[in-house]
Structures are given as C-alpha cells and as structure tokens.
C-alpha cells in the first residue's frame, strides 16, 4: 500500500488484470483483439507479452462461442475473465449467460458455482457508432444467478475486479467506458480485495440523495455542487452493485434525507430506477418526504453521436428533478 500511482480507470483495470494473472495461476483472459492489440480500449495492453498466449487469449469473433467455452473452462478448474468488446456485442452471448451461466449453481443444488467474470465496456457519451453505447445492466439483473456491478472510479474498478474474479459465481462487470480516461486517482500497486455488496456514499448530505452509478456519478456530482451553491445538501450514493442492490444504504438514504432521486443512462422502463423506487415505496413510504423521481435515458435506441447528449441525463435535468422533489 506504500506506493501510490496516479492511474485512470483503464490503467487501473489493466493493473488489476495483471495482478489477478500473477496471483491466480488458473486465471486467464479471453476476448477479441485483447492480445497483441491490448484490447480496443487497451485494457489488456502488455498482458499477453507478460503472461503468454495461453493466458491472454485472442478469440474468434464469436461471443456465444467463447462465453460458452468459458463456462466449460470453469468446469475443469480455470477462472476465465472474458472481455466483450462493446456493450451491445454481448447480446449474442445473452443465451449463454442467462440460460446457462446464471443457472449453473442452481442446477447443482447450490454446490458448485462458475468463477466467471464478463467485463463489458458500456454506456454512451463517447460519440461512438450505433450499438457501441448501450447500457445493458437491467437485462442481466433481471435474470437469475448473475451478480451485476459497475465501478465508477479507478480504485473501485481495480478492487471490484479482483473481488469479482474471486467471487465464485458469474459476475457481469460493467465498465463505464466514458470514465476510462476521465481522471486519475492514486491507487496502490496492489489492489486490496473489494466487495460486491456495498454502495458507497461519495458525498454526505441531508436534504436529498442522488443515487447513480458508473458515468452518471460525474453528472450527479455536478448537480450536487450546484445544489450546494443554493444551500441544499445533496448526498451522492454510488450504487456500484446493481444486483443485488444495497438495500440498507438505500433505506438509510430514504430515512436520513427523505428524498431519493435515481439517475441512470439506461432506458427508463423497468430500469434500475424503477426497482429502487419500488423498493422505497414498499419499505420506506412512511419516511419519504417526496415521491422518488427518475432521470434516465430514453425508451428508444440509444441515439447516434449528434443526439446522444440529448438522451443522456445532464446536470440540468438532474437539478430540475431535484427541485421538483424539494418543492413537493
């Protein structure tokens, strides 16, 4: 813990993957263009040179095939970490993940799990082509047997990645690609084990809670700054775990701030915001001072570059919703 390097998120993930390959002889990485090329986002840069072609494996263009193969690898004792090149490219592997991976422990009556991590760079705001900006977290959290997590900064990315690799059940590890190179943070040369259970209070506050995750943390932090200028104290709760949700942190937010606003870039319908709002309605209706509102992406294909900022939650949209709730 002595040396601290200033790393951005993609560098922290690279360091975490290297640490994993060093510490666990059964761990391996697989995906498209992750070897000599180091991955299209360079998350695996240099790792094939360090660990060889049998541990950092370039696969054919075949998401269902190599995600399915990773399931088989787990049966013979390996611990595969699979990179999906872009969010929407995971859809061909959806059947393998929901009909197979997520059901494995259940099919063994709880006895055996699959030590499988699926890394997915996800989300909008990078001016990418169609189907390179999706937010698929709800799909995976709705289907049984998968853990779904989203880090929002370099340190949590490294810690949660190592925790996911050691967890023993399939983990969908969503990396907000917009944050890959957004900022640097001091991180230790060796990541301590993180956890996959807890949301994190990024900023304390008493008047309302802004719940977000991934790249939306930056947006709600911006909104919290502006609210602070108005004399309003906004708590920022970084959800981090989409499934299961950190129920206690959400109920605490309801109890202690009375107002909970949820922000995500995924579509609104049946999104994480809906689940949070339902949880608060069922379990905290008596302490809420205002209905829970949602600021989300739109129920349509994620727009092409020219319109993506219109669809993504912005500081202004978050502020407007926050004011509505405060004036209720």
């Amino acid at each position: 813990m002595s040396e601290l390097a200033q790393l951005n998120m993609v560098e922290a993930i690279n360091q975490g993957l290297g640490q994993l390959l060093e510490e666990d002889s059964q761990a391996l990485l697989m995906g498209e263009d992750i070897g000599a090329n180091g991955g299209v986002f360079r998350a695996t840069a240099g790792l094939q040179q360090r660990f060889g072609e049998d541990r950092v494996i370039d696969t054919p263009l075949s998401e269902a095939g190599f995600v399915g193969a990773a399931i088989g690898m787990c049966l013979v004792g390996l611990h595969p970490v699979v990179e999906i090149q872009f969010d929407a490219f995971v859809y061909p592997a959806f059947e393998q993940l929901i009909s197979q991976a997520g059901r494995f422990r259940w099919r063994t009556r709880g006895k055996y799990g699959l030590p499988l991590v699926i890394r997915i760079p996800y989300g909008g705001g990078t001016r990418a082509p169609e189907l390179h900006s999706d937010s698929p977290e709800t799909l995976f959290s709705h289907m049984p047997g998968l853990r779904v997590v989203v880090p929002s900064d370099p340190l949590s990315a490294g810690e949660m990645l190592l925790a996911a690799a050691k967890y023993g059940d399939p983990v969908i590890f969503l990396e907000p690609k917009r944050m890959y190179r957004r900022g640097r943070q001091p991180v230790p040369a060796k990541f301590p084990d993180g956890d996959l259970d807890h949301a994190l209070v990024r900023r304390p506050g008493d008047d309302l809670t802004l719940v977000a995750y991934g790249a939306m943390i930056e947006v709600v932090e911006g909104a919290a700054d502006r609210l602070q200028d108005e004399g309003i104290s906004a708590r920022v709760l970084d959800l981090r775990c989409i499934y299961p949700l950190d129920r206690e942190s959400l109920l605490n937010a309801a109890e202690e701030t009375g107002r909970v606003l949820v922000v995500h870039e995924a579509a609104r319908h049946c999104g994480v915001g809906a689940e949070v709002a339902a949880l608060l309605q069922e379990e905290a209706a008596d302490v809420l001072l205002a209905p829970t509102l949602r600021v989300t992406g739109m129920d349509m294909p994620f727009p092409l570059a020219q319109n993506e900022d219109d669809a993504l939650p912005s500081v202004e949209r978050v502020l407007a919703a926050a004011h509505t709730m405060l004036e209720y």
Partner: protein, 347 residues
C-alpha cells in the same frame, strides 16, 4: 439390405473382445430399461413430459463406454440417462423428469455437465472443457451431444469454429435421426450429409451407423484418440432414424407416414445387437436375456422411490441460486415490508 448389414455386423462382432461386447450390451440394456420405464411412469402420471430415446441406445452407450471416466460429457435433454452409466442412480434423472430438484446430478462426481435444454448450447461448453484441459496439460477429452436439428443452430457453428481454431480435444457427437420434432432433415439443411459441415471449419468427420453399437464405439474411440494425440476436434455423424416420437407429448402421425417407422424398426439396436452376438457365437441367448433382466432390477420399485422423495421447499431452492443468497428472494406473500415488521431485516 438389412440382411447384408446383419452379415457384416456378425463378421465385425468377432473383432471385439467378449468383455467389451457384453459391457456395451449391458449399457444398452440399462438405457433401454430406463427409457421404457420412464415412458410407463409418464403414462402413470408419475413424471412429466419425457423425451424418449428409444433407438438411440447404441450411440449413447458407445459414447460413454469408448471414453474414460475422467472425460467430460455434455448432454442435452435426450441423453439424461447417460449419467447412470457413470454410476449415478437412475432415481436422479427420473426425479428431474418429475420436476424435483433432486434430479440435478452431481456434475463433478460423474463429469457429466448439467443437461442443456436449448439444443447446441452445450457444445461451446464441451469446447471450453476440452480446450481448458489442454491449456492445463490435462489428458482428457470432452464430448458434446447433438441432433441433426442442432447443427442449424448458431452455437453449433461457433463451437465447431472455436474448437478447430484452438484444436480442442472435443468430440461433437451428432445423432442424425432425421427429425427435429416434426421437421425432416430436408427442411433443416441443404447438405446431404451433416458430416459435410465439418469441412467448413477444418474438422475431420466420421459417418457411422447410429444403430451399430460397435461402429459407434469405434468412431468415438478414434475421435478420442485423435484428441488425446493433439489432433483436435472430430465431428461424428451417427446416422439413424428417430424410431419413436420426439417425446411423450408428441404425435408423429400428424407429420410423418408411420409406415416409415415400421420400415425402420428392424434397425432397433438392442434386439439387433443381441441377435448379432448370438449368431457370432459371442454369447448365448439366455445369458443376454439375463443381462437384460438384471438391468431392470434397479428400476423395479423406482416409481415408489420417486414418489417417496421428500419435497423441497421453494425457500430451499431459492437458497441454491447464489453463493450468498441476496435479500428479497422469498415469494411475495412471505415478504414482510419493513414498516410492518418494525424495521427488521427480511430474508
């Protein structure tokens, strides 16, 4: 034509050691007994819908017997009894068809993966197990089962391609029974031979008579030897005919001429193998009858046994989905809102 085949079979039979022949016959007899009993249990209402494998005993028995116990098997719904040839009690797969969670066998004990219902989804798993073993320098092969219909599914093609690229020691055992429920082979593919699909991926293919247990045994053995020698995957097309319905809920008269079933039925492998073994002088009729009778012994009271299996509560099942069970998995009626429970924690 059948007469000639019988003659060839008798000649071929003399090549095999008696113990191999009897072991294969016994395995087929056990599979047949399981299948017959399962159909009866379904008719009695003691298990649910059941996909019979009548006529596929030869290829299934050979697939298990030609491999070592360390090799992995990846079944679909039509191979739920192969795990019994690895030592699992027949009670277990029958409980699966009864819809009881006791039907999930121990995958590590038997090295038989959980049954995959959507066809071809099991094939990438077989590739991964074989490939993973190769990366770990372990001497084992994996075998994935499929039918002619499964070779139209994307996962079959992705599995074949990946296996070939990484030279995984995997065997794709495709039983071409010429029907996928009501869809005949001619509406499934334009290739004349399913084995031809191997060529697209650079995978050698073997075509074999699915009703000939010795031919199947030899084919799987050759494929396994190739895999162990580092020569990569093999596609086996075992050509047969689905002698029965797709399952107990299926009515073949709706879509095919039952005269075809009658014409194909003499190929039924257990009777045929027994006749061949007697004619080749490998065994006496009475000895083989005894093997068949003994194979049924385990199943004599199986109907009572599956009914005696204690029920499992839905709460127990919910506790088997995750390593650590998340909050909120209880059925809605059992969930107590915190404001009613005085803020206490719920399950």
């Amino acid at each position: 034509m059948l007469g000639l085949a019988e003659t060839e079979m008798v000649a071929a039979l003399r090549k095999w050691p008696r113990e191999v022949a009897l072991d294969l016959f016994q395995a087929m007899a056990r599979l047949r007994t399981f299948d017959e009993r399962a159909v009866i249990l379904q008719r009695q209402g003691r298990i649910g819908t059941y996909p019979t494998f009548y006529g596929e005993e030869a290829v299934q028995a050979a697939s298990v017997k030609a491999l070592q116990s360390r090799d992995w098997l990846f079944p679909t719904y039509r191979q739920t009894a192969v795990v019994t040839l690895r030592g699992c009690p027949a009670l277990v797969p029958l409980l699966m068809w009864r819809g009881h969670p006791g039907g999930w066998h121990d995958v590590m004990d038997y090295r038989v993966a959980p049954v995959c219902v959507p066809v071809a989804t099991n094939l990438p798993h077989a590739v991964g197990a074989a490939w993973g073993a190769k990366l770990r320098h372990e001497d084992l092969v994996a075998l994935g089962y499929g039918g002619d219909g499964s070779t139209s599914a994307g996962d079959f093609h992705e599995a074949c391609n990946l296996a070939a690229v990484v030279q995984a020691p995997v065997i794709f055992l495709i039983t071409n029974n010429q029907w996928a429920i009501s869809t005949p082979l001619s509406k499934q593919t334009r290739v004349r031979r399913v084995a031809d699909k191997g060529a697209a991926y650079g995978i050698p293919a073997i075509r074999v008579d699915a009703f000939d247990v010795f031919a199947c045994y030899q084919a799987v053995g050759e494929a396994a030897a190739r895999g162990r020698a580092g020569e990569g995957p093999t596609l086996i097309e075992a050509i047969g005919y689905r002698l029965g319905p797709h399952g107990t809920a299926d009515e073949p008269s709706l879509y095919r001429d039952l005269e075809l079933d009658r014409l194909w039925d003499p190929m039924e492998p257990l009777r045929r193998t027994q006749a061949g073994l007697v004619r080749a002088g490998v065994a006496e009729e009475a000895e083989l009858d005894q093997i068949r009778a003994d194979a049924g012994a385990e199943l004599r009271d199986i109907g009572d046994a599956i009914e005696a299996e204690p029920p499992v509560t839905v709460e127990e099942i919910a506790g088997t989905v995750h390593r650590e069970t998340p909050w909120g998995l209880l059925p809605d009626g059992l969930r107590e809102p915190s404001w009613r429970a005085g803020g206490g924690d719920q399950g």
